[in-house]
């Protein structure tokens, strides 16, 4: 096979990265400009930095609470959805359940619903139906973790199914022959082989939960509000605080980057497993 020089790929990726990064760079530009400079002919290169937006954001205590809520909700939801999705896919892939292909297809239909009208029934269910005594799911982190399953669990199932189908059944059958329990087979035989798929699923479910706005805006009030709902506080009839919004957004990139960094390695690790398997 002809191999092109690696430097060509490097050049290619530098070019692609410019396009990818430009809007993010622009977000940064907005965050370090005073509002008065936003409505003038723009320069690509920044000439001066205005840090007040960052100081304002750092001084805002409620935002810190939002950040914690966002981290808890998206991490909790990503782990929950990836776990449940993994187990469900194992069931769908290894067992001969009647109607399983229909169930598989049905799961994804949960993600297709246009969100706006589903807010009302979710609001009613979470305040009046799913309750224990005075405890309702509205405005709680656990409530949001569960609600986000409606779009993230189908996603997890759909991205993990091909991965599980791709792992030869012979492997777990061999393990069963050796007397392993189903729990052991799932955690010690199948799980390691699924790592690239699981890592991608974890990252992407986390991202979807982290970025969600409409459901959080309606179903949280005081104690479980997330960063995205915090952002909407800066879009008002007396002016959109573009600079502060952008500064918060830059901050939201940091935890997201950490999560990405931690999980992405496993996609690469997966490479070797793929080779072993072949």
């Amino acid at each position: 096979m002809k191999r092109r020089h690696p430097w060509l790929y490097l050049l290619f990726w530098i070019a692609v990265s410019f396009l990818t990064l430009f809007p993010i760079y622009w977000l940064f530009v907005i965050s370090v400009k005073p509002a008065v400079d936003l409505f003038s002919t723009p320069d690509i290169i920044l000439k001066s930095f205005y840090w007040q937006n960052y100081i304002d954001v750092l001084n805002d205590r409620t935002l810190r609470g939002y950040m914690v809520n966002s981290l808890v909700i998206s991490s909790g939801n990503a782990v929950l959805c990836t776990t449940l999705g993994f187990l469900a896919c194992y069931a769908l892939s290894r067992f001969d359940l009647p109607g399983k292909e229909s169930i598989f297809f049905w799961t994804i239909t949960n993600r297709m619903a246009p969100p706006a009208v589903f807010l009302l029934p979710l609001f009613l269910l979470m305040t009046q139906v799913y309750r224990i005594g005075d405890f309702t799911l509205l405005d709680t982190r656990i409530g949001m973790i569960l609600v986000y399953c409606t779009f993230n669990l189908p996603f997890a199932i759909w991205t993990l199914r091909p991965t599980l189908d791709g792992i030869p059944k012979e492997l777990d059958e061999a393990a069963y022959m050796d007397g392993a329990s189903p729990f052991k087979v799932i955690t010690e035989v199948v799980f390691p082989l699924c790592r690239p798929g699981l890592a991608v699923t974890l990252i992407l479910t986390w991202v979807f939960a982290w970025n969600e706005y409409l459901l959080a805006a309606t179903l949280t009030n005081f104690s479980a509000r997330t960063l995205t709902t915090g952002l909407s506080e800066y879009v008002t009839t007396t002016g959109t605080e573009w600079g502060i919004m952008a500064a918060i957004s830059v901050f939201t990139l940091i935890p997201a980057l950490i999560v990405f960094g931690l999980v992405q390695r496993h996609i690469v690790t997966g490479l070797t497993f793929g080779a072993v398997k072949g």
Binding site: A35, V36, F39, T127, Q128, T237, T238, P255, I258
Partner: protein
């Protein structure tokens, strides 16, 4: 990876380290009475929802903690965006959940809430609980803007917390520049003064747009709140432009079975409305290019960036445009005037038949589903205490009590704003809020889609207004208001 962890960790540490309490000294009369009144509600937390505007932020940052110090009642204010605020309040009241003890009621939605009996009658409630009536609260202190929140028998259903008029702003530096004045005189034969009529306004707008082009300046003759996909444009036309042509209450006639078309007794597609729309479209073409994407926010920012010589701007923005150097390039260069009018409109406004512009603002009301109506009664009175008004006005440029006009800080601000408060005090009666319709957002949304098409040029202004009038009637029929 390691680098990003380090960066993230240090940023988080920084976030936890920086902290500042936003405390301000608030002195209220009869503190002992308030303390006693609050003692009854030990452990109560009042919850409110509002839009994150400066007046509301002042409530959550300053007034709520002060109220808690005074009475021991905790107040939590949820601030969110405009559509969310409405949606959440409505869902709560409609489903009778009782999450909120106070909801923000903008002047234009109050009639919808009243029609549904969503709100507690403040006046009656206070009469029923004389022990909760604070000595330093008096309904008579409120400005006439409070009338927007009164029910049929004059009872108050919302405590005003902000009020503004949409005014005509112009750049005093340009209007007083001798070179500009001479050029204007030469070109038009008149002196350059703020316009009184639409023809004068258009003449000034044409002059400055040309002046900007000739001098290679980023300057245009007028602003236009002409977004092609956001109801802001609909509001500018129906609440700020059409009334100045004598088309009031959106051209809908409540006495004629809510007719909108001329054929049925309305005036939405009257010749006056059509003239108004054509004039406004011309202004839009003279305005800076971003106007096609401008809501109230961008109009204010455009003016603050010094890109327009004159324009109709909401009063809540007038204050920061004229005084905040971080946000505005035209500090100290802003003049205020009444909007330009057609003949006869001023007479209509003075007689109470019509109005010359939009008076907007909002109040806090208590939903009937609230579980803490009585404690909320205390907070609503607190919002209308004369002693807390001056700083609140200075921080957020809103005035809801007559006495606030005479406080030193407001007087100083008035000078800086080119007499905005004097105008609000003296001519405020010529402005009016949205018409008392319970179907405000419904008719707006139904007709706005047609207005957007007029703005993009897909539809002529005459046909556009004909279609809008017909659409409004159709929507009112569907909703059951029009027989």
């Amino acid at each position: 990876m390691n680098l990003s962890v380090k960066l993230g960790a240090s940023a988080l540490a920084l976030m936890l380290a920086v902290g500042s309490a936003f405390a301000q000294d608030i002195k209220v009369g009869h503190p002992d009475w308030w303390k006693n009144a609050g003692a009854k509600f030990d452990g109560v937390t009042l919850r409110g929802v509002t839009e994150a505007t400066p007046p509301s932020n002042y409530i959550s940052d300053v007034l709520a903690p002060a109220f808690e110090d005074l009475t021991g009642i905790r107040v939590e204010i949820e601030t969110t965006s405009w559509d969310q605020m409405y949606d959440k309040a409505i869902k709560d009241m409609e489903a009778k959940t009782g999450i909120y003890d106070m909801v923000f009621i903008e002047q234009d939605i109050v009639y919808a809430y009243l029609a549904r009996d969503f709100l507690v009658d403040f006046t009656a409630e206070l009469k029923a609980h004389p022990d909760l009536k604070a000595a330093n609260f008096d309904e008579a202190n409120l400005t006439s803007f409070a009338d927007n929140f009164r029910g049929k028998d004059g009872d108050l259903f919302g405590m005003p917390m902000e009020a503004f008029i949409k005014v005509y702003l112009y750049r005093t530096d340009l209007f007083n520049d001798p070179k500009v004045k001479a050029a204007f005189k030469k070109e038009t034969g008149h002196d350059l003064v703020p316009a009184k009529t639409h023809a004068e306004y258009a003449e000034i707008a044409r002059f400055f747009t040309k002046w900007g082009k000739d001098h290679d300046m980023k300057l245009w003759g007028t602003t236009a709140q002409a977004h092609t996909g956001h109801p802001a444009s609909w509001y500018e036309f129906f609440e700020s432009v059409a009334p100045t042509y004598g088309v009031y209450n959106w051209g809908i006639n409540p006495d004629k079975n809510y007719a909108a078309t001329v054929a049925h007794g309305g005036s939405m597609n009257s010749p006056e409305a059509k003239a108004a729309l054509k004039w406004w479209l011309e202004m839009r073409d003279l305005a800076p290019p971003e106007s096609v994407q401008s809501t109230w926010t961008e109009v204010a920012t455009t003016f603050a960036a010094g890109r327009a010589a004159q324009g109709l701007v909401y009063g809540e923005n007038a204050a920061w445009i004229a005084s905040d150097k971080n946000k505005s390039r035209v500090v100290g260069k802003v003049g205020v005037a009444l909007p330009p009018l057609e003949d006869g409109v001023m007479a209509d406004a003075e007689s109470g038949k019509g109005y010359i512009g939009y008076y907007d603002g909002g109040a806090f009301g208590t939903p009937v589903t609230s579980k803490n109506e009585e404690a909320a009664l205390l907070f609503l009175q607190f919002l209308a205490l004369p002693e807390i008004q001056e700083d609140w006005a200075a921080a957020a440029s809103r005035i809801t009590l007559t006495s606030t006009y005479d406080t030193p800080k407001v007087k100083a601000l008035d000078k800086e704003l080119g007499g905005y408060y004097t105008m609000m005090r003296e001519d405020g009666k010529l402005f009016r809020g949205a018409p008392p319709y319970p179907f405000h957002a419904q008719v707006r949304e139904a007709t706005a889609q047609i207005l957007y098409k007029v703005l993009t040029g897909d539809l002529g202004p005459d046909e556009g207004l004909d279609q809008m009038a017909a659409k409004a009637e159709e929507e009112l029929q569907t909703l059951g208001y029009r027989e």
